[in-house]
């Protein structure tokens, strides 16, 4: 099996960056990283996860869709789309890797979102196994194996480097010119590292999280549960959970008048906001309880109902770490599951 030594990472990425743009997680401060364009000799973050998810690469927080300008008493339509450059995202964890599949179900089903599709077609995902999962991790609850992530190339991390396994044609093409940085090693080390990751996952506090009470068809049992009131009472209605979430895909489309032209852009929206679902005639979700319920019902019930049972959560734990009042999907699942058992 191919192996990349830790000391060779910089040369490997530098060489790779000659072929396409590479994005890597960079530490902004200890234990806080963000994806940045790779520049030679910049240390890649050793942290587990970036604060924001990797969905930005395909579904950026804001993007221009179309523009309008009046010229000679006619409306001229401006198309801001350009041919997207090829890029690769390095260091994506199993949870984020799965999230792209979830976003695909939304954006690549008819009618296909060409903006998303364009980016997706140009992006390679280089995933990495998790050596040190955090207490907030619960991807295994959704059937994700952090020791065996999806993606174009899988990097299995060990103490001194990474075992490298291309999974797709794109991945093999990417590695072809980079062979010189790789060496051949016995697979035993990879299996050992994977076993260690799986073992750690079992020791985590959220290891036993159950999803039995949720899934398609559970709307009736869950929608009117009294627990929603106490679960949502402390929610301050900010959008932190939705904006750090790798699978939240709701957006708003707005026009911005620059004075010379109108730009129609889309931007992330959050179901936690009071004007979400605001429409002519009013808003069907008037209180925070309803907005809060929507977020979790969507991830745990509506999404699986419409997508063959797949949950709309990947257990990355970002919302657990970022929520200002520490209310999150795990607490919701535990509380509602408990009530279910009693009934």
């Amino acid at each position: 099996m191919k192996f990349l030594k830790r000391t060779d990472l910089d040369c490997f990425l530098t060489a790779a960056a000659e072929h396409r743009t590479i994005y890597v997680p960079i530490d902004e401060e200890p234990n806080k990283s963000a994806y940045r364009r790779y520049k030679p000799r910049t240390p890649v973050s050793q942290g587990l996860k970036t604060t924001r998810s990797a969905k930005d690469f395909f579904f950026p927080q804001t993007e221009n869709l179309v523009g309008f300008r009046i010229e000679d008493k006619k409306i001229k339509i401006l198309d801001p789309r350009t041919e997207h450059e090829d890029f690769a995202v390095f260091g994506v964890r199993a949870c984020d890797a799965r999230s792209f599949g979830i976003l695909d179900k939304v954006f690549l089903s008819e009618p296909v979102d060409t903006y998303y599709q364009n980016r997706r077609a140009h992006g390679l995902i280089l995933t990495m196994t998790c050596r040190r999962p955090a207490e907030t991790c619960f991807c295994t609850a959704f059937g994700i194996d952090p020791a065996s992530p999806e993606g174009d190339i899988v990097f299995t991390e060990t103490a001194d480097g990474w075992y490298i396994e291309p999974k797709t044609e794109g991945g093999r093409d990417f590695l072809a010119p980079l062979e010189e940085f790789l060496e051949e090693r016995d697979e035993g080390g990879a299996e050992e590292a994977k076993a260690r990751t799986r073992e750690t996952m079992e020791k985590l506090p959220l290891a036993g999280l159950k999803t039995d009470s949720f899934g398609g068809g559970k709307t009736k049992e869950l929608f009117d549960r009294p627990e929603w009131a106490s679960l949502s009472e402390a929610c301050i209605g900010c959008g932190t959970c939705t904006f750090v979430c790798p699978t939240c895909q709701c957006y708003d489309i707005r026009d911005y008048d620059t004075g010379r032209e109108v730009r129609r852009f889309r931007c992330w929206d959050s179901c936690m906001y009071s004007d979400f679902t605001k429409m002519a005639g009013g808003n069907p979700r008037l209180t925070q309880k309803e907005r809060f319920r929507q977020r979790f019902m969507h991830k745990l019930v509506y999404f699986p109902e419409n997508n063959g049972g797949e949950f709309g959560c990947v257990g990355c734990g970002r919302c657990l770490a970022s929520c200002p009042i520490h209310m999150n999907i795990v607490k919701v699942m535990k509380t509602l599951s408990e009530g279910q058992d009693e009934q």
């Binding site: 902004e28 401060e29 200890p30 234990n31 806080k32 963000a34 587990l48 604060t51 924001r52 927080q61 804001t62 040190r132 999962p133 955090a134 207490e135 907030t136 750690t200 020791k203 985590l204 506090p205 959220l206 106490s230 009472e233 402390a234 301050i236 209605g237 900010c238 959008g239 932190t240 939705t242 904006f243 750090v244 708003d252 707005r254 911005y256 852009f265 931007c267 992330w268 929206d269 959050s270 906001y273 009071s274 004007d275 657990l320 970022s322 200002p324 009042i325 520490h326 209310m327 999150n328 795990v330 607490k331 535990k334």
Partner: protein, 325 residues
């Protein structure tokens, strides 16, 4: 302390003084506590927690809770929270008669991000041991000094005193000197305009416009924020341009200028760790220097500096002259 609070809460529930208690509910990993309203002694016994991680300011919830009928609500307020509450009271945003306040002492709150910054991850439990926290993790046991993982706002604590309460648990504290609090602002002021511009650009460009800083702020209590009102002409759901990052943060801080009690919630909740308190404290420092020391939430009869004036106030050109000196 936690047991004292629990017992007092149970006693006040039992004798009918209060019908509900607002406090903090135990979480999954010993640091992720959530503000919660408790109605029975059993709930309190099971879930009520008070420890170094109960940093969330509960004053803002009292706007909603004190507007409810059905008896008084008991709130435990740290000095910061008490300043926030008192400011809300001065603005007639809470109904005092519906709230029973117990002032609780505060030795500073721990910041889980600082523990994690020390390289500790996979946290299973955190126990206090003398001056240390003993953190048990999936990867073994770690030890950190409590003083080393205090939240920034606690290192710059302004007061250990409660400006408002019905009763106190523990000793009343004193005001602390302001120099530590303004050190960060003063440091920025000595930089050049270019350096300051670069500093704020690098910080504010991280903003994801989650609005957590606004929504958690006990001074931000508008029913409909200008940034959420599509008719305002400036409502923004996203910082689509660096200008909007500046606009949002300037206006957010300006809107609470003279009312901000410097509780530090904005910086605590920011998922991007933007030092938002440096904006609020700039206004506080300017107000102190230009219009005399003013402490929002004190309610000692002094008027809010932005709704009052003196004829001899400095002209706006003071900003330029200050720079020339």
């Amino acid at each position: 302390m936690q047991e004292m609070m629990k017992n007092r809460a149970k006693a006040l529930l039992a004798d009918g003084t209060v019908s509900r208690v607002i406090g903090w509910r135990r979480g999954e990993f010993s640091y992720d506590v959530t503000p919660a309203v408790f109605e029975t002694a059993e709930e309190l016994e099971r879930d009520f927690v008070f420890d170094a991680f109960c940093g969330a300011n509960v004053s803002k919830y009292l706007i909603r809770e004190s507007a409810k009928d059905g008896g008084r609500i008991l709130a435990f307020l740290k000095p910061c929270d008490a300043f926030s509450f008192n400011q809300l009271l001065a603005e007639h945003r809470v109904r005092r008669e519906n709230v029973y306040l117990i002032g609780i002492p505060c030795a500073g709150k721990a910041d889980i991000d600082r523990i994690k910054k020390a390289g500790i991850d996979g946290v299973l439990g955190i126990a206090e041991d003398g001056e240390d926290f003993v953190v048990s993790t999936v990867y073994g046991e770690e030890r950190v000094k409590q003083a080393d993982v205090l939240a920034e706002r606690c290192l710059a604590c302004k007061s250990k005193r409660h400006p408002v309460y019905d009763e106190l648990l523990g000793e009343e504290g004193e005001d602390l000197p302001d120099d530590v609090r303004f050190a960060g602002v003063a440091k920025l002021e000595t930089m050049t305009a270019e350096e300051r511009f670069d500093f704020w650009r690098s910080e504010l460009s991280k903003c994801i416009r989650c609005n957590a800083c606004r929504n958690v702020c006990p001074a931000c209590t508008c029913e409909n924020c200008v940034f959420d009102n599509p008719d305002s002409g400036i409502s923004q759901k996203t910082a689509a341009d660096p200008f909007e990052e500046n606009m949002y943060h300037i206006i957010r801080a300006f809107h609470v200028a003279g009312r901000c009690t410097d509780c530090g919630e904005c910086s605590r909740v920011c998922p991007e760790h933007i030092p938002l308190h440096l904006l609020n404290r700039k206004f506080i420092k300017d107000i102190d220097e230009l219009y005399g020391t003013y402490r929002a939430g004190e309610d000692d009869g002094t008027k809010n500096p932005l709704t009052s004036y003196t004829e001899g106030d400095a002209e706006a050109s003071v900003v330029r002259e200050r720079g020339r000196a």
